[in-house]
Symmetry: C2
Subunit: 389 residues, 2 copies
Amino acid sequence: MPPTVEPDPGNAGEGSTAVDADVIVVGGGVIGTAIAWRAARDGRTVILIDPETDDKASLVAAGMLGPVSESVFGEQDLLNLNLLAISRFPSFNEELEDAAGHETGLRTEGTLAVAYDSGDLAALDRLTAFRHSIGLQAERLDARECRRREPFLSPATRGGVYAQGDLSVDNRRYLAALKKAAANAGVRTLKGHACEAGEGWVRAMTPGRQDLEARHVVIAAGHATSAIDGVPDGVRKAIRPVKGQILRLRHPKNIPPVLTHTVRAIVQGHDVYLVPRADGELVAGATQEERDDRDVTAGAVHDLLRDATTAVPAISELILAEASAGLRPGTSDNGPILGPAETERLIIAAGHFRNGILLSAATADAVTALLKGEKPNLAWAPFQPERFG
Amino acid sequence: MPPTVEPDPGNAGEGSTAVDADVIVVGGGVIGTAIAWRAARDGRTVILIDPETDDKASLVAAGMLGPVSESVFGEQDLLNLNLLAISRFPSFNEELEDAAGHETGLRTEGTLAVAYDSGDLAALDRLTAFRHSIGLQAERLDARECRRREPFLSPATRGGVYAQGDLSVDNRRYLAALKKAAANAGVRTLKGHACEAGEGWVRAMTPGRQDLEARHVVIAAGHATSAIDGVPDGVRKAIRPVKGQILRLRHPKNIPPVLTHTVRAIVQGHDVYLVPRADGELVAGATQEERDDRDVTAGAVHDLLRDATTAVPAISELILAEASAGLRPGTSDNGPILGPAETERLIIAAGHFRNGILLSAATADAVTALLKGEKPNLAWAPFQPERFG
């Protein structure tokens, strides 16, 4: 039920006869901000509605960009999309660094997946066979070679696989760069969140304004998308928060960086990833919990530290600088949701689950195509909102 | 080499002919602040030199007051002192709460020591035999009875011992109360730290003043006592920082307090203590490391969480609110150092190691006795500075 958007007498001088902007983007994480930046860069007037909280999933992420490791057997469509996304990422990131005037900490050393015991090695071998079956490079390494490349790996390491094409980025620097680039391109940010949206309009809790109109409204509100009235019910039901907890570790002055590559370790059946940053930070993650709170729990921190220090014992000596929790936007089929919701003027770009940063560039491309009336890359075809009825 | 204390022309109006105070206390932890409060309460003018940092050992402590559990076989003198201290604590604390106008969170449920495996049980039995041998109560409980008293203890708990007389206090509320009581009694606090001290004088880094004079100077600077010139060399060499890391856990809304008693668990040879607070916090500690940094490390947090969640699995569900590190003032014989240093006008009250809060009341009594020219309780006799030559 769209509200009647009438000129507010109190705001009469603010040009109430026209729409407020060409595009209103709801959500200030990497997805929403990337879309806002690119739309503004194309010459559109853009309003970004951003809650500006510090518990965004974009801020809790590790910034690991591994197209294969984040997809599983049978998710071929998602894998295709991730491969599109990783091929697009470097050039997008380069433009972003230029537009923002600072670096995002992109690292290109690749991922070393390692196995701790024989069961872990069997699991890793299955993943390698899968990579090979779809024509991807994945170099099998024996234990000695793993430890040659990463000398602080546990002596118990049984073997590993090196994936050359994987990237990582400092998620916080990346989001900060997107915000800077968006502001530089003229995006107007309103602090707040949307309650309801429809064909070219948004009802939002922002200072001074409640009802906003635009040619296009883009909902990129992560898991909170499910709380916005006017988003199709099927989409709202398909999105759920999936809690993730991560740790940020720092090196004391006398300890050199313990890792060079992103390391994904399988430790007695548990997965842990360890992402080194250019600034010496090491991110360890992540839990995956069907909960909607953001509490940092003793059990999760324990399990992450146990797995991290088992895989790389020297991590015991690092400083535990931060433990944090975020809510990823999971969907019922693990795929993102991108496309018009019943009307061309209301676009959904949500449900990116564990792949938000990886998919951000490709998502911005797809949404800017839709804004121009063009079709997004075909890899997006399986991920339209209609699939949820 | 004492400085020549001359009237500073810049401070000429500030009464430079007399001493600055009856007593100058160096150190704003529980020891120094308790001494300052009690000296002022006796009608003396008191200056407290306090670095006012938030990494004091007094702030990182758990506030567990267990006279026996903190002493070991063969440390009979220390045990006697701890028994004096615990008998004095409740009345001191009551006066303190009155003087400060707020509570310190004293808890009187006692300590339940529990053992996890058969080796742990053997260690616990040795401790119980020791308690009995010195005439202390210690009630041996079977596993069923342990879990009846603390239902969240691991089903693997093998048995335990209940010590009725143990207390605990919220160390942060306790220090805050001491500061309030000191201020109410007229203690003047100068932010800074002492560099050098002698017979009735201190050279300090405080705003505006460097040289201060008093009838008596009391050095209660914890491990930093070893950095103050003028303190006898033997004392300086006997004191060393012993790093301790602790965790502060909080209960999510839907979880009731997991513990009622202070629980000391022996878990596969590791000691962990768990101290519940009146406000729902649970403190878990502590590491004991021969290091002088205050870094919170991945390894220490891991080990504390491992032992805590092994002893009480429900702790996994608690919120990890804080991990912190402090430096306890250890001494070469584990005993505190209390008494005049060569001159009656320079008194040392330092080296309280793991027992600072427990000993704070008895220490204040002993120092105020010295200020009056009286002898402290005989239990202090073995702990004079001269024992370090």
